[in-house]
Every structure is written in structure tokens, then in C-alpha cells.
Amino acid sequence: MSSLTDLSATQALHLLQEGEISSLELTQAYLDRIQQLEPQIEAFITLTPELALEQAKSADRLRKNNTKEDLPALLGLPIAVKDVLALADVRCTCGSHMLENFIPPYTATSVQRLVHAGVVVLGKTNTDEFAMGSSTENSAYQTTHNPWNLDHVPGGSSGGSAAAVSAGMAPIALGSDTGGSVRQPASFCGVTGLKPTYGRVSRFGLIAYGSSLDSVGLFSHSAADLALIFEHIAGLDPRDATSMDMPVPLIDLDTNSDLSGVRIGVPKEYFITGIQAEVEQKVLAAIQQFKALGAKIVEISLPHTEYALPVYYLIATAEASANLARFDGVRFGYSAEAASLWERFKQSRGTGFGPEVKRRIMLGTYALSAGYYDAYYGQAQKVRTLIKRDFEQAFEQVDAIATPVAPTTAFKIGEHSNDPLAMYLEDIFTLPTNLAGVPGLAFPVGFDQQGLPIGMQFMGPHFKEEVLIKLVHAYQNTTDWHHLKPDI
């Protein structure tokens, strides 16, 4: 064992449970690692070392004074939390100047459930402003650097969480995924990232972007670590009417990697001109590995895939324009001094929001405005139905669908800054999942010639996260990509 921060979450938890290490030692090791690397990575907007050490000491006391059976399942395990999820009494910025000093009075259900399960919170991670972006360059505070190459972006919007896990600054991190914001940064940073089914994890306390698309997700180094955490964040929450009362399976991962009988669909619409050649090669090689493990590979079609991008950017921005109307400079957030109420609204929002947020509010307002609603928003909702039906039909034939996560590996910081449409195109393979509400899982399958990670995505039927986690676990049992870590 070289260092405590090299342990997987599963290993760390085991050592905690056996009394081999204390939560205080583990937490201090992560805080030291963060202090060492944060000047280069800039993964965190707010660090919470005092809270973390207090939680760690309390976890150690609890473990000392109780028998194993009575202890919370994740007692003493450190995590990082994307700064769009509320943690009571710790500022929550959403990467925006609008919420620079916002102190939430309550905790998001997903975070609260993990705290209840005994975790230690290290800090709040960087994000594109209000989760709108694919690189963290839209954060009002900092651009996070990719641990594999500091000149490249970590992806986004949950780039801080992905980089933190990749660089060993946290074993587990929470993120949010509205159009790919967990899976694309997981792919860019070489970690494993889960976007659960819409309705699987409560959105209460997740500051809203696109309410029919937003999902709370997870980052870790492996499918096994995801399985450890997932059951604790999933499930019905009376405070989110869109959370579903579905049984949450305890995912039992055996070491048997035989995938006989599993059908994996490969949609031709995801292997298109313009995709980076190495990405296609590595994903196809990984699909061959699944075949070698016994899975049946089936060519399928998701014919409306090309429409997902315009549908997403009309629906997500329309929902965002309504959701972000709450930032009016009255109850919370930046507030301008102005002589009239209308002027206060306009100036608070004009000054508090950054360029990408304003651009999306403008686009969404246009799509919802009189005379354009039917042509843009209404038509997008109908095409969304077609995209959803594509998946329903595909899942009659196959158990999971395999695709690249993104058309390229991590691009350079600044490369797409002046071209919003080019940035939006980074999300073409992740957006359909959110439109259909199905789960998606991203995991590393190799590197390009520059040494940047390449990710593959599995998509599954509603509430079948377990199938995806088991598939990736079988792959990770027989390959080493997920064990490789950046040399920093």
C-alpha cells in the first residue's frame, strides 16, 4: 500500500471496518493530497476541512463504541460534492457569482442520505455555472485542469468532481447530469461515472437546471465502488414528486465475469464521421472484450439520434429559463441597487449571471415565446417522444447499448471558448440518455496517443442500473484501465 489515497472506496471502507485505519487518518490523507494538488488541479470551489475532521473524529468514536452491526454502512468514508448540491450551512455557489455568498438552510436528499450513512464531506467541487457547460470553463471561479494533462479540460459540467476522483483527492464524488455532465467528465478524466435513471435519485436540494432531465450521479474508480454507494442515494423521497417508489437492488457483484446470455446493442448512429479515430478504435476493442466474455453483440439502430442535440438545447434551455427566474435579487443571490423592482430584477440578473447562463436563458425564453412556442419547444417535445421510442424499441432486442461517451478525448482549455455550438457538439452521445430518462454508465477503455483517457458508455432500460454496473464490473475484472492513475 503506497498511500491511503490510492485505495479504492471499497478497500478503504474494508480497512475502516477492520480497524486497520481510522477515518481521521484517511480524511487527513485526502486533505493533505488536496492541499498538495489543488494549486494545479483547482477542483474545489469550497473546502470543508474543519467539517471533515469533525465528521471523521465522530465516525471513529462511533465505531469504537458500537458493534459492527449497528454502524452506518459508509462510516468514515470521505466524499466530494459538486457545488450544485446543497449542504446546510456551507456556501453553495453553483459556479456562479449570483450565489457567491449563498448559504443553503437545508441539505440535498442525496447528500443527506450519504451523511446519514456516515460519510465525511471534504468540500464542494467546481462546476460550469449552474451546470451549463462541458468543460468547467464556464465556472465564475476557476477552470479545473485535467489531471492527465493540465493544459486540457476535465470535461463538464461536473469537472471538479471528476478531476478530484481522478487525481486521488477523493475516492467518491457526487455530480449532476442533465445532458452528460457526469459521463463526459468521467470519460475525459479516466474514471467511472453513473447517471442513474431519471426519478431514481431525489433531486431535492439539487439546484435546478432542466427539471425533466436533471439526475444526481456518482464518480468513482470502478463499478464496484459505484455499487457500494448507489443504493444509499437511490429511492423515493417525499420531497421530490418525481422520485420513484421502485425497489433499489442491493447489487451483488461476484467475481464471475461470464456474460453468456447478455445482449449488447451497438447503434450505428454513434459511430459517425468526425469521431476521433482512437476513440472509435478503443470503444470497438472494448466491445470485442465483452464478446470474448460471452456477450452477444447486436447491431441496432436509434434512428432519431441526430435530433437529440437540437431537442436538448431547446428543452433544457426552456426549462432553465423558467427555473432560473427565481434568481430575482429579492430572496437570495446577488442583488443590485435599483430604483424600481423591474430594474432590480434586470440588473441583478444581468450582473449576477455569466455569459453561458445568459445565452441559455435567452435561447429558452425565445423557444417559449409567443409565436415560436409550437415551432421550437412544442416540436422539440414531440421529437423527444420519437427519441424515447427509439430506446424502447432497442431495449426489446438488447439488455444494454454500447457507445462512445464523447466524440473526442479531453480538448485543450480555450479550444471551444468562442464557439458555443462546437462546445454543444461534445455532448451528442450523452444527451439522448437524458431525453429518454434512461441510465448511463461511463468507464475507461484506453488512451489516445496524447495519453488522454477514452471512455465508453453503456445505456440501459429504466431502473436497470444494476445491469450496467454488473457489465462494467465484469470488464473491470478482466482489464486494468480503471486502475491506471495520472502521474501527478
Binding site: 425533466s212 417525499p238 438545447y313 429559463s321 429579492v330 434586470k346 421550437y376 414531440k382 424515447k388
Partner: protein, 100 residues
């Protein structure tokens, strides 16, 4: 399609966003190009296809009508500038008329 500056100003007014002249011009160009891209949806046949607002099955979500502990007034006001609150209330500029 090319948006005009007047259209951009109209949308900004609806969205209650104060924009600089530079922002108006930038958004005019960028929104025009994004809307051009989105125009591909106009060609999709959606005659009798119903819209999807939510992927969840339609259902009614009810709960018991039980009184719960509300946030304390000082908690509700903890994120409001001191100058923008008064006697546990939000203080805003005049909304209507001239106060007479």
C-alpha cells in the same frame, strides 16, 4: 435565420436580463446560428406524435396534509442583504404607482 437586435432586446426584456450592447450583438449572432442548427427539427414528421414533458408515467403524487416545522424567519432571510430586509420582511423598491 438572422435575429435582429430588436428581437434580441425583446427576448432580454421577457427574460429580465440587462444586456450590454456587446452582449446583444454577440447573442444575436450566436442565437441565430444555434436556431439555424435547430431548424433541422422542422423537417421531422410529428403529425400525431404526442409531446413528452416528462419521461415518468403519468401519476398523481399525494401526501398527508400534515403541518411541518417551517424554516425560521431569520433562516429564510439569511441570504438577503441587510439593506434589503426590514422587520423580518423582504424589502423591494416600489412595485406600482408613486405611493400616493
Amino acid at each position: 435565420m438572422q435575429l435582429t437586435i430588436q428581437e434580441v432586446e425583446h427576448i432580454a426584456e421577457l427574460a429580465k436580463l440587462d444586456l450590454s450592447d456587446e452582449e446583444k450583438e454577440l447573442f444575436r449572432e450566436q442565437l441565430s446560428s444555434i436556431l439555424d442548427y435547430a431548424a433541422m427539427l422542422q423537417g421531422v414528421e410529428t403529425g400525431d406524435i404526442p409531446p413528452t414533458a416528462s419521461v415518468l408515467p403519468e401519476r398523481s403524487v399525494l401526501r398527508q396534509d400534515v403541518v411541518q416545522e417551517p424554516l425560521k424567519p431569520e433562516t429564510v432571510l439569511q441570504n438577503v442583504f441587510a439593506a434589503h430586509q426590514k422587520e423580518q420582511q423582504f424589502k423591494v423598491p416600489l412595485v406600482m404607482g408613486n405611493g400616493q
